[in-house]
Amino acid sequence: MNRSLSLRDAALADMAGIRARHPTVFLPLPASRLGALLLCAAALGLLVFGLWRLDFSPARLVDGFAQLFHFLGLMIPPDPGTWSRTVLILKGLAETLAIALLGTLGAAILAFPLGFLAARNTSINRAVQFLSRRMLDGVRGIDALIWALIWVSVVGLGPFAGVLAILTSDIGTFGKLFSEAIEAADRKPVEGVTASGGGKLHGIRFGVLPAVLPVMAGHVLYMFESNTRSSTIIGIVGAGGIGLMLSEMIRTLEWNVVSFIVLLILVTVAVIDAMSGRLRAALAGARPA
């Protein structure tokens, strides 16, 4: 090779040779790219078709926006009205938080063993794994709002039905998330435990659990945060919490109170979000021995 020849010159001088040795690299549109482009085009087509089929109309959206601004005007300033109503609102908010916390914790505790049963690498056998997985899918397929309606008709109105609603719908979510975290765990620590004469439970306790516990705790914190929002909604169907008050105020067109409640919920969710973010970072970082 010539010392004075730069890489670029050498490449260009041998262009014909390089093209001959690597013909696929110089195709104008390789098959993989063509496939990706077709897929994108198909997805776009589906989107356009769906919008057309569901009567998507920009004009109605614009009109609706005008209405939205009208409501926003009515919401200013946020004002709970009377003092007694403020206390009622705060009580409702506390109840919502309690529903979210109890429902999330209960679901996490119940989903913990289910997660191990539904994970390929820690389950007892294929049948158990299949059944627990299908069961979790089934539970998850029904939204918390539907569960709330069901539980209200079973145990009556109030926060107890709310807790049960969050709990049932979250067992499915947690079971799925937990089992996926377990399946994604590194196999090497388990191999180390097995090679030392440990049984299957030892492998789970000393190989899998230390790795997945912080991940699970992160899921629980995130779901608590998300449930604070969804337990507002289930309150609307009578399962306790601030939702009932909120829907009442919307029905009676007391927009100042509505905006006060919405702001309160926003602040609460933001505070929980900030706290759980820190907790999750701490859990992921400092691992106890």
Partner: protein, 269 residues
């Protein structure tokens, strides 16, 4: 010519690189040696500006590169290519695209982001791969390659930047002996054929002796040795490596029998 003047980097109270001065003429192959944690990596990363100096200057052809920002900084980084210990390839991308990443600075963003590489750039990348006997791997995913192959892809990526300097940060520390030779030979060839300056961090002294025409020794961030490999005798090596001397020298026959020096250090009580 690369000139480093009083370069210092502090991390809190700890000084990683302490007042290092160095002049590297074009086309030289310089080995930076010293024990782990001596500041070799930080020194190299500061030249590429992956780390910013706390004090001191880096000059290339008389131009201060320590204060560069934005476009000018990216242009400088393209001129001093970096090769990492862990290769730092994008594992799920094919080998050719990984090499073409080295052309990013020379291609308009709208073309590179859509991966619309010109035939010329593809040819340059393939030519670089063929140079290291891995042209036939161009279409494979980078993560499916062996360590030695991945490091050669990384060197090809560095080479297509058409750089003036290549900074190699422990390029062989994750490789077996056979691949060590292949990778070091690749760096030596780049240095010889294209006259590219190579600054290479090395832990193993025998490799440094075999490939470099000049050695620079760092100890606790300070420059304690600078000279040709022949000048680094057993005593100097021991000063540089302390307890690790025997491990770093790797039973080099030039050294007298092993005489572990435990005196200045206390082992774990």
């Amino acid at each position: 010519m690369l000139i480093i003047e009083g370069l210092t980097r502090r991390y809190g109270d700890r000084i990683a690189v302490d007042d290092v001065c160095l002049e590297v003429p074009r086309g030289s192959f310089v080995g930076v040696i010293g024990r782990s944690g001596a500041g070799k990596s930080t020194l190299l990363r500061m030249v590429n500006r992956l780390a910013d100096p706390s004090a001191g200057r880096i000059l290339w052809e008389g131009r201060d590169v320590t204060a560069l920002q934005g476009r000018a900084l990216r242009d400088w980084r393209a001129r001093c290519a970096m090769v990492f210990q862990q290769f730092n390839l994008s594992g799920r991308l094919d080998v050719l695209t990984n090499v073409l990443v080295g052309r990013l600075n020379a291609v308009p963003a709208h073309r590179s982001l859509l991966r619309l590489w010109s035939a010329e750039d593809r040819a340059i990348a393939l030519s670089a791969l063929e140079r290291f006997d891995i042209g036939e791997l161009a279409a494979q995913r980078a993560e499916h390659l062996s360590g030695g192959q991945q490091q050669r892809v990384a060197i090809a990526r560095a080479l297509v930047q058409e750089p003036d300097i290549i900074l190699a940060d422990e390029p062989i520390a994750s490789l077996d002996p056979r691949n060590t030779r292949v990778v070091m030979d690749a760096l030596a060839r780049i240095n010889r054929e294209f006259g590219i300056t190579v600054l290479c961090n090395l832990h193993a002294l025998d490799i440094a002796r075999a490939y470099c025409d000049r050695l620079v020794g760092l100890s606790a961030g300070r420059l304690v040795f600078d000279g040709p490999p022949e000048a680094l005798d057993a005593a100097a090596a021991r000063e540089l490596y302390g307890l690790e001397a025997d491990e770093a020298v790797d039973h080099a026959p030039a050294l007298p029998g092993p005489t572990p020096q435990v005196a200045p250090f206390a082992l774990h009580a």
